[in-house]
Point group: C2
Chain length 327, copies 2
Amino acid sequence: MIKIAIAGYGNLGRGVECAIAQNPDTELYGVFTRRNPSDVKTLKEDTKVFSLNDIENHKENIDVVILCGGSATDLPVQTPKLAESFNVIDSFDTHANIPKHFKNVDAAARKAGKVAMISVGWDPGLFSLNRLYAQAILPDGKDYTFWGKGVSQGHSDAIRRIDGVLDARQYTIPVEAALEAVRSGKNPELTTREKHTRECFVVAEEGADKARIENEIKTMPNYFADYDTTVHFISAEEMERDHSGIPHGGFVIRCGNTGLNNEKTHIIEYSLKLDSNPEFTSSVLVAYARAAYRMNKEGISGCKTVFDVAPAYLSPMSAEELRANVL
Amino acid sequence: MIKIAIAGYGNLGRGVECAIAQNPDTELYGVFTRRNPSDVKTLKEDTKVFSLNDIENHKENIDVVILCGGSATDLPVQTPKLAESFNVIDSFDTHANIPKHFKNVDAAARKAGKVAMISVGWDPGLFSLNRLYAQAILPDGKDYTFWGKGVSQGHSDAIRRIDGVLDARQYTIPVEAALEAVRSGKNPELTTREKHTRECFVVAEEGADKARIENEIKTMPNYFADYDTTVHFISAEEMERDHSGIPHGGFVIRCGNTGLNNEKTHIIEYSLKLDSNPEFTSSVLVAYARAAYRMNKEGISGCKTVFDVAPAYLSPMSAEELRANVL
């Protein structure tokens, strides 16, 4: 059994707790938290909770630590730190900062002889894999990534910071006509506005100026100004009843040509439709924890991404079973 | 530049000839044929053609040989033989015989210190990868593979062997209602008949008994008896005009559940829509030729499948470029 620890216990940590139980060869060692351990209520009654400050003392008992903190401030510090003692997996998702994060984590993991996998999840993660495979196979082509329909935490938070807003939920929605244009094989040039729309559900304070709130949302630079945005004001009860889930998903589509004169067209499409973004991401993290454990057993160390992991490492099946049953 | 040789020059060999030209880091060394080389007319004028009997004499000049023969009789002999001297790639696609083929090829490749990749293409190949990734991520679920709409060479050949048939083309078509049932997340049990239909276009000899031919097709065991099959009799001109392409494609869909009580549903879907089955397969073969060359440079040897290849090996980009641009 691969003994996995969870560092950080929010939505992602809870998802990992469930995912470990679904796999035949993984077991949960415990949750490590910055909070007072006795204040943390876990989903499963028998889950042990420890202080993150004490994690070094458990070094001999843990095969892999899955970091479940945020990319903004937690992971840039925690991943290199924990890679000094453990095989680690994180879901660092600030695309622009990946090269820097990689460098910091790689130095720590190499020194310790551990495997540290960063940016594991679905984007970055499975979507990245599909971009790579499709680009390598159809070099003469173009790929497109669409996100949604799903909740964007960052955009929801941006609305919540507006004066007079009590709660908000923002859905990113791919434009069906854009998807169809891509699938037609015409390799269209699409603007930001043509690819996605944004739909916002807002609970306003009593007496708040809704017209002003709506205008502030729709004109917010970077977040909303470049999109067709719709705003719906709803009650706190409606928010709780209709928008408490965290669904997400999306599409990676590459269209490319082959032949002596590029006369043949091929479409590769990958899509996800997820009831729960954090639970699905957690499931990806646990599969890569298996890979990290196995790769480290073979003497591999350093920072890795999904690009560096041979698929066979992810499956609990043996190489023989995979060839006989899955190939 | 990675110097690639093609062994066998049919549809697949022609596809490889085109695909090599599309990649920035591959070049075609030449075509090796069992025919008289002067009888082989290549797509590109400057492609050199040699006798397959002489391939050993070119050993020092070739980095990878892509085998473009058939799975029934060519590859079981050729792949182990050529793996004694070269890094090789084949598209061996008789699923049931993969373990045996692997064993034969592995022994030869290990002894020679070469990399031999077998069963590369889209099924086995990309579809296999998607089954593996999806199963590893959603262990509590079920996956489905649908093929088509596309031409099945084996089924077309089976019809051609019927007395009175001059030519035939068989399309395998996934049943839309079955696809929708799978995408709904209900994990339906589907019979062979419920998943695919078969549509046949037949050119009959003048005066042939069409009712008998149609009946022989529809009742043919293994090939058609378990399917809803439609048969259209057409002229040789219509066959040439409307059915000269070799399109194919299909879907791998996995639906799985997560959560404390499996209450969340996730759908992972991968699909291909290909104008030309052999040209697309060729493109996959060339990407894996790059991987074989690189892996062998690193000292790796033996028989490999797509499961054993870390995705980064497939891309002409460096690891740094991939992390910055594709992850």
